[in-house]
Symmetry: none
Subunit: 227 residues, 4 copies
């Protein structure tokens, strides 16, 4: 006699899956559920029933709901990070512009290829709990750091205009985040990655405001005739 009584066994027990695949199965189900209900509304029950496994199986692979979420975010942010390549100026065959364009296109492409994760990242990742918030924050911090350094280097090379590099980094990051979020939310096709990248690049290169009494960098922009 068991300490906890057991009932009859139901037939479905899918044991043939290799360990790693079963983990994937759960991970995918979790992604779908988080995307649909949001982290806080999602329950482990939702996940296991989406995955078609028993509740206990979930805990065999993940310590708790937060842990699956964490793995999802980690993997996705790693993919994003991988699509960013440090820009080199030494190689004359690869223009800075094309490298910048590649990076933007890469990030947008990844985001559009993983819509659910992009949505989750921007909707749910913050606010899970303070320690998790800090992890997310530090991911962005790294991106900002990389960007800031690149911009500073760019200024030395005359490729980047005057101004506080860190602030430019924030502005660029924010602009890109919002663009991604909207692209995913509005359901833009993956093909538009190209066009979006172009607009982003144009934005970074020249802004869009064409004001008479220029304001900050007067001498450098004899843009008068454009007006």
């Amino acid at each position: 006699m068991a300490e906890r009584k057991t009932k009859q066994r139901r037939s479905s027990s899918a044991p043939a899956l290799p360990k790693a695949e079963r983990r994937q199965l759960i991970l995918h189900a979790a992604r779908e559920v988080f995307g649909r209900r949001g982290f806080h509304q999602a329950t482990v029950e939702d996940i296991v029933s989406a995955a078609g496994v028993a509740r206990g199986t979930f805990y065999l692979y993940y310590a708790d709901k937060r842990t699956v979420f964490s793995e999802l975010i980690d993997r996705f942010s790693a993919r994003i990070a991988m699509s960013i390549v440090r820009i080199v100026t030494s190689d004359p065959a690869r223009s800075v512009e094309s490298q910048v364009r590649e990076n933007i296109r890469g990030v947008i492409g990844t985001a559009l290829a993983e819509r659910t994760m992009t949505k989750i990242l921007f909707t749910d990742a913050m606010g899970v709990d303070p320690s998790f918030d800090r992890r997310i924050q530090s991911f962005y911090d790294e991106v900002v750091q990389l960007l800031t350094e690149s911009l500073r280097e760019g200024q030395r090379l005359g490729i980047v205009g005057e101004g506080e590099p860190r602030v430019f980094a924030y502005l660029s990051l924010g602009a890109l985040k919002e663009l991604l979020y909207q692209a995913v939310t509005l359901g833009l096709a993956e093909e538009s990655a190209e066009a979006l990248s172009e607009q982003m690049l144009q934005f970074l290169s020249g802004g869009y405001l064409r004001l008479q009494g220029r304001h900050t960098a007067p001498a450098r922009r004899p843009r008068a005739k454009a007006r």
Copy 2:
């Protein structure tokens, strides 16, 4: 009952407060708690104990936890919205530039004046629940709408460069959001509002990338000699 008549009233019952003030009291306590713990980690217990009122009292003024949160967000987003003024081109006494600058300065000023709310807005507002998410979304949508229209008008007037106005709206909104979030998180002083606005304006006006083989709108920007 007669026997309990002499039971001392607890000091915390503060019955003298006008209804509206008590509501404020709770609202402020909630803001502080949400700022400190985040919406999901915050409990009603946290709020009432911060406010120094009884649990039941909370429900006398707010239908539920979400409702206080909602009111906080609503008030704050209204303040933000109010600091944005539709730009007029008819009045020669007020340059477009100064109006844009005013708007940026206003939003940044409001955000820095209400750090807690800014943090809450960007950390917790999304992910509360799907219906709330939609409300937040629609606030941003309105901002985007206003911005898009202004940009379109600007293009007609030659004040705004070529490109998809809606995309420019997203980019600008995102850049500003990130800037605000970082400003608040890093604890920048309110005085820096001015400097940040200037950088933002500069960014919108001219971006920062100075690439040789211009990329998108070559003819319009004979910026080469600026370099």
Copy 3:
């Protein structure tokens, strides 16, 4: 809208009880349940349904199942401890014998008056968890300590025969424990406390074995003639 949805309220909500009484109510229900099902078989559900309160109410008064159990054991062991009075030899008006008899009678009386607790103490108290075991153990250790000291003093006064006092303490404690347990289990009436005490006292005073070739300390006990 709540984060956790709420259903209709049921009618029974017994809020009139003073805080202390409600605590008692739960405590008594817990005692009954532990007595009937044993600590490990008992669930919090059993307790609250026996007490007629909601599950949450239980956790308002006790941190967990172990804590109620602990309080029950603590109170009972305190009552037991209180029924033991240190024996004085200075007062000629109170013979040692009558004091010993009083102590035995007191403990037996308390145990018979609280059958359920006696049963719980001997059936469930050990094995709850290591830290709890230690607490129980230290209660007994104190009793043993008190008894050992008394016996040592008794030997000095010639009231207690030769032998290791601590061992005598264990033997006496064990004998009494088993007597109590059986008395409670067999459902002896409270009136038999008197008779049991007498037998216990007789046992401590003279054992029961009457062996010819006395065994251990022959010379010292010229009790042969008594036989």
Copy 4:
């Protein structure tokens, strides 16, 4: 399948062990675990990992956790029972005293030789579940029964003093149980079995209380008329 043919057999699969030995292996591991963690804290996982077998293997040899525990207790109580021999009075070559002494010595010896089991028996055996409790109880009942009969016979032969034999049985059993428990808990060496037996015997023979106004002992107790 053919592709997996070379997969190494895990070392732990130890297929060479005869059935009976594997059973022993598990039983010993269980004993160790129960001794260390207690029945309720012990998990089947603890046991199988201590035994170095797979989880499923456990259930090949034992129906459930309770069953191993049961077997341990049964074996141990059988050993204890075997060390008790019914006392004969017909053989003049074997004094009653020496037979009693043998019995006590035997039980103490067995307990000290199997410390873990002794500890388990006294700490965990009760409280597993009601049906198990009953089995333990009935083991003790048998011992009590045997003892009671012997004592009654002893009274007829004048070897046992006056008093309720069943009560004497409880008292003796309890005294011995506590002595064993403490001996094991305190880690007394096996050599002390002898000394403990002697003290126990002395206790049964003459108690230790030497009270002036005697009360129970015969010669000293011209209480005949009270009866």
